[in-house]
Symmetry: C2
Subunit: 246 residues, 2 copies
């Protein structure tokens, strides 16, 4: 089972503060993943790590027939059920390691920034493959392997004398496995996997890779947050679109 850090009081409070700010998710990850989405009208969708449900609700508003949003965090789901409820959306508390308990099938499995919390990626994508209808899509984002690589979680940007971002330093890329570092609170657990491991595992499971995106900021986003210039040095996110053969 994944760590339930989102139900940590301090983490949850700090995380929810991001909603009011211009976050990397809003400016970089969400615009890029949205470009990969097929028309959701009439589709059945599983949203893994749905959080407070904004995407699940949006899929329903855009005409999805049925959306199942799962998350491990009770606190997140309470917000979802209060603020992002919709007759076509069902929220369920469930860890992504328990997907095989689902009985329905889906036309699309979506996940925003959750899979780097999954300890067993091989099982996760095998479970998703089974849950997808033929021709169905898996579209997900995660932290980029360059960012998750360094063992002590101290990969970092380097500045020149004028304070400009000039380069990025990292290590331990080939050493897959658990990383424990601070994010709002100490001891947040991620799992690092290399690009090769991720893509080959998807391919070996049977998925056809359609797109691999390392998003760079659009000009409107750069105006909102100039330090997104760092994305030209190294990517922060990895987004993959894969399809189960028809």
């Amino acid at each position: 089972m994944s760590q339930n850090i989102y139900d940590n009081e301090t983490f949850f409070r700090e995380y929810m503060k991001l909603r009011g700010e211009k976050s990397y998710n809003d400016l970089l990850e969400q615009p890029a993943i949205n470009k990969l989405l097929p028309d959701v009208k009439g589709k059945t969708i599983l949203d893994i790590g749905c959080g407070y449900g904004h995407n699940s609700c949006l899929f329903a508003q855009n005409g999805a027939k049925k959306v199942v949003g799962i998350d491990l965090s009770q606190k997140m789901l309470e917000v979802a059920k209060k603020e992002f409820c919709h007759p076509c959306v069902e929220y369920r508390r469930m860890d992504m390691s328990e997907l095989s308990s689902l009985t329905q099938k889906f036309d699309m499995v979506y996940s925003s920034l959750a899979f780097h919390y999954a300890e067993n990626f091989q099982k996760l994508i095998a479970d998703i493959y089974v849950l997808l209808n033929e021709g169905g899509y898996l579209i997900y984002s995660q932290e980029h392997p360059i960012v998750t690589a360094t063992m002590d979680c101290k990969g970092h940007h380097n500045l020149d004398e004028s304070g400009n971002f000039v380069s990025y330093t990292f290590s331990d890329y080939a050493k897959s496995g658990q990383r424990v570092g601070p994010w709002f609170v100490e001891g947040v657990i991620n799992y690092h996997r290399t690009m090769g491991e991720i893509i080959s595992m998807l391919a070996h499971t049977g998925f056809i890779i359609k797109d691999v995106v390392e998003p760079i900021p659009e000009s409107w986003a750069m105006k909102e947050k100039p330090d997104l210039i760092k994305e030209y040095i190294k990517p922060t996110f990895l987004i993959i679109k894969a399809r189960k053969p028809e």
Copy 2:
């Protein structure tokens, strides 16, 4: 047309010296790419950037029906024709930008460490797609995008006080395009492309991605060259196996 640096006298002399040494190619790239090869018996094979022809000849020795080895360098092909000739191997001087002039079809297109010299990757893989029989494989290696990224070609490993490799510093990952740097001689031209660009271009062309490998050294190789420990910090090579649908 790609730069013909291998016909530079100094470059050629220095490059050929590597053959007597334990190179990264022999210890890391070749063992990894060989694992991805299908049985070549009875197959027609195109070897792009065949160099002095050791792989083309080996394919023929392993039972390939016909191998066409192309390279831009007259000097390399002279060695190939002298040292690695075989009745089933035909060597042709040709730039990889001219693939569309070939009229035969192939069961496998192979290329070791040449594609980072290609200016137009989109055209290259579109040409290869046409040349492949249905169900045929493209298997190739190149310098890893993390290595080709930095504009001034000064990505580098960092050492601790005891001289151990501890991290890697790079920049400009999202800035695709030409890189000009020294390798034996000044002014060697490579083309940097991101992982996302490479894999998405292959997928959009119609290829099914089968494997993406960022090789790490096996224990026998580590004994030969202990500084291969650096490969656990960041990958040097990228190897891709893709298939044209049947």
